[in-house]
Amino acid sequence: MFDSLIYSQYCYDYLVAQIDPGLLFYTHIPTAIIALIFSAIIFAKNRDTVSSSLLMICFLFTLWAYLDLNAWLVFLGAENTLFNWSLIDLIGICIFFSSFRFIYTFHFSIDLSQKWYLVSCAIILPAVLMTFLGLNITGYNTITCEAYENQYSLYYTYFVQASFISAILYVSLHKWRSARTVAERNKTLLATSGMSIFLFFLFSAPFVVNLLSNYTSVEFPYNYEIYGLFGMPVLLGYLGYLIVKYQAFNLKLISAQLLIVALLSLEVAQLFFYSTRSELYVKIATLIFTSGFGYFLVRSVQREIQEKERNERLAKDLSVANERLRELDTLKSEFVSIASHQLRSPITAIRGYTSMLLDGSFGTISEKLLLPIQRIEESSRFMALSVDDFLNVSRIESGSMKYDTAIFSLSKTTSSLVDDLRAAAVKRGLILTFKNEASTDVLVKADEGKVRQVLQNVIDNAMKYTPKGSVTVTLCTDLDKKRSVVAVVDTGVGMSKETLNDLFGKFVRAKTANTVNVYGTGLGLYIARKMIMAMGGSLKASSKGEGYGSTFVMELPLTSTSA
């Protein structure tokens, strides 16, 4: 594989006896390429200080991996080994500085202050000078094909690296303490952990190697150095998780993309290990198949995510529109309230004067005028009722409806109401009856006036929509549920299922309503139900269909006395 590149056969044999060259390529090349691509994508999509810091780390890491790999390939000649070896520590220090800059900008969204820059430069400068003057390398050992390093230079490198790790932990702790949300703390923790692991691998590997070579008789201690490179995939894993979970770097990467990239990287790395040509072809074919499969998988997941995002956007727009509609509804209610109040005063005056005219307060009126005045009185009465309906709706919707709650006898109220309405029923040719099936007096705690208003509305409706037959009002109690029940059953026109569904809505009127009651607003049942619900009860309607009559059931909670 390397035959044409071998400059020193002795060093080649020495290297092969020490380590598998395939392992060197496996640990150095894919990791560096993935890191570079990953950071380049982030930088391309989001050109800010954080992304540029990450790109700088990955670029320096790639350079470091290149130098390290070349230093390992000792068969390329002593000059090659020395040149690459002499720069490794300096580039390593630059990686540590860039990592600190990245963590700082990631946490605080601003670049390092001038003070931090100056301190960092002051620490790095001696290392640059030592490298520039060639003081970090003292010579070349032809027996081990390695460079001799100046121990003081090496210790200074460890000092600088440890300083930057400490600075990273310091600023991260500061950020973690000042974080306001759990998500912010988690992000801080994840970024710091990933970076610390990456740097610890990079820092500890040469440190351990140095210890092994100085104080133990371990054969080929430098073999352990290559494991320092595995810190980078760990960092990328952490950053990938940050992107997927918290949309860090304003990126919307998805787990599927990261998984496919990781899978492809592993397969590319496998290409460095093959014993026969057919094995290599199988690996290449697998790589191509995985690439194609991965492409379609990612596209499919992306489409689903786009669809989901579109739906979320629509739901959000709908929510905004609903909120706007609610505001408009409130404005409408306010308008109706104001308008109704303005109408009420003149109507009251009209009704008062027409009533006085009919009573003869202004003298006897002629037969010719009697009918028109009666019409005026009747119309103004309906108009007053309509205005009352509008005002009630307005009060219900604004929550300003007042309920004078007190304990009263529902039996007496219902009985008295039925008695009052009986004359009107007889006038229409209907039989209106009241059945009290409760064994005792039914006491409820509610606003008596409003309960009476609701019952009157329901019985009035029943009479209006019953051309012939009867209207039966029944009072009973459900002692198990502690409820009083008033059922109004008529033999009238009945209702279709569609009508029943909308019956308690605002401004809803039956199809035949205009032939029965031209003045109706379609608000009566809406108001009745809202009032009963506000008093802890319910109002329901049922019908077997058109022509089969209707049943309205009003429930109210019983007081402890009656129960």
Binding site: Y10, G77, F83, S113, T142
Partner: protein
């Protein structure tokens, strides 16, 4: 009075200059090392060459505590300027080697001061 934004902006500009200067410094350092090591071959080579025990005090690996392969042939330690070193030194296959130019090459005799752990002096 300068605005905070302006101070921040100028500070960032200084920081960018600093980064640029550092990048240039590192590049220059790299070029210097390349010139020194690759072009001028200006470095010291440490190697071992065969030694005649009848003429010199030679080094020998102490194989008494080692299992497996151990080369017991006597050797002399040489420090030599890379530019003056013959290729056989890099391949560790010089049959005989003498330091002709003392200013460029140093031959280390084995004695109590120069012998290291795992080595013996033989003569």
């Amino acid at each position: 009075m300068q605005s905070i934004c302006l101070i921040q902006y100028r500070s960032m500009k200084h920081a960018n200059y600093l980064l640029l200067i550092f990048a240039i410094l590192i590049l220059v350092t790299g070029l210097t090392r390349y010139k020194d090591y690759v072009i001028a071959r200006n470095y010291v080579v440490y190697t071992n060459v065969p030694c005649d025990t009848e003429l010199n005090n030679c080094f020998q690996f102490d194989c008494s505590n080692l299992d497996g392969d151990c080369d017991e042939s006597p050797f002399t330690k040489i420090e030599i300027e890379a530019s003056k070193a013959p290729r056989c030194l890099f391949e560790n296959d010089c049959k005989t080697f003498f330091c002709t130019d003392e200013s460029m090459c140093t031959k280390l005799e084995c004695n109590d001061d120069t012998v290291e752990d795992g080595e013996l002096c033989v003569s």
